[in-house]
Amino acid sequence: MLTSYRAKGQVYHGCLWVLKRLAAIVGAGQTRFGDHPDLSVKELFAEAYREALGSVDKGLDAKKIKALYVGTLGVGGYQIGNVSAALADHVGLRDVAAFRVENACASSSFALLSAVQGILSSQYDVVLVAGVEKMRDMSSDRAKYWLGVSGDTEYERLAGMTFAGHYAIMATRYMHEHSVDKKYLSMIAVKNHYNGSLNPKAQFQKAISLEEALKAPSLAYPLNLYDACPTSDGASVLIVVKAELAKKFTDTPVYVTGFGAGSDTLALHDREDLTGLRATRMAADQAYQLARIKSGDIDFAEVHDCFTIAEIMAYEDLGFAKRGKGWLLADDGSTKLSGRIPVNPSGGLKAKGHPIGATGAAQTYEIFHQLRGTADNPSRQVKGAEMGLSHNVGGSGATATVFIYQR
């Protein structure tokens, strides 16, 4: 039994295998999220790429990078085909196999998943993961047109549904089944705006009060403007290497020790239950099993809070709270920066911004720095964090990933 676990790179600690190193992250970069009227998608990518290369402590010769996995929805259709090769070309990556991965808002975490699999297959030693999106150039009508394309188009779209509407329908049902007041949803917005106020790369760097969060204009009842993520431009880049090679690049790599993915029906009316996301539970089960840990072992997490209700459902689907009890974590402060399990120290999609394709890799960017103790602003450093989790959802839960990371 034990010998079957004796994969290369594992550490034996007493009678516990504490680390299962599947791949290592040795560099990461992210543009600020928000408005970048002067930068194209390629230039956004180049900025995050340069930061990622520069963050490799012992340096990395770009010629060693053999594959590029790009996550993007392509909102607005800036480059419908072969966008990954276009990005590689722009920064002079001539020796890569370029892939594009699209799973709506979960695109770049699925790109990371493919990259880890590429490394585990032994085909590649050093690869690049990127997420890019340009959403702010478009008129809001066109943005709404494109966002709707990731949902069920045959029925939901014909009923006039929006993404806020999808999560609003989940929120209405959640609040009904668990007798929960709307104010607990707004508490998530207050927490994430506070965290965003400390993050120099966040779109919104402004704390808000619970009163402000409650009285914002309605977007899709019961959700209002402050329950929603904004539309954003941005890019994020990760450098992922074979675990055994990590120390060649840095003395403090961050290891991926578990990952999983799940999917579900596109249309909400096809789901038995609307108070959680089955795709998240599938992904989390796989990730915890692979890392051989339990949800209680996680020190902090970046979760998919495109709308406030999504963060509360994530608490439950990831096992941080029992079903129907996630809202209590919003109330008792457990998930604040100083709490028992800080969630979305970056400000989350809510305050950091949500450039669709760039979000997943940006969650990993945050975890990379938090685990190394190099958060850009010491006041938002999660103290003593050893194990982090990222959770990324496509659309209204048709796809999801969960990753576990350890120092």
Binding site: T153, L158, R173, Y221, A267
Partner: protein
């Protein structure tokens, strides 16, 4: 750029106009809207057509607020300010998403009785799209 092209829209007109569902001959489950497999047993062939009564109850809902409707619904929204969309649980079992009409937004609630009515949904590039909306019924119906 029409959101749903005429051929795409036309392919399941009988579902949309007649609330026609597919009953699985293998497990008896009533599937609506029809799709490539049975939602309960994943059977991919052997369905008989049944027409749904169009009556049901509100399972969940939202009210799409000012300024956030998709472009093909902006005209409706400008005229009415906001509109309600719900998931309706039909009496035969399946659930469907549709706009809710004739309900006082203040009094919308999970569990209210509703009934399907045939309506024009929107118009885009000169093409009229029809389908079902659900109208709130008084308690007894």
């Amino acid at each position: 750029m029409a959101f749903v092209s005429v051929p795409v829209y036309g392919r399941n007109l009988r579902d949309k106009y007649g609330l026609e569902a597919s009953k699985c001959t293998s497990c008896g489950f009533i599937n609506f809207p029809s799709k490539g497999s049975c939602r309960r047993c994943s059977n991919t062939e052997g369905f008989t057509k049944v027409n749904l009564s169009g009556k049901g109850t509100i399972y969940s809902y939202t009210i799409i607020g000012a300024g956030s409707a998709p472009p093909e619904f902006s005209a409706q929204q400008k005229a009415s300010g906001s509109y309600a969309v719900g998931i309706v649980e039909l009496d035969e079992g399946p659930r469907i998403v549709a706009q809710l009409i004739g309900c006082d937004p203040e009094k919308l609630k999970i569990g209210l009785r509703v009934e399907a009515v045939f309506r024009k949904i929107y118009e885009e590039e000169g093409v009229v799209i029809y389908g079902s909306k659900f109208r709130c019924l008084s308690k007894k119906q």
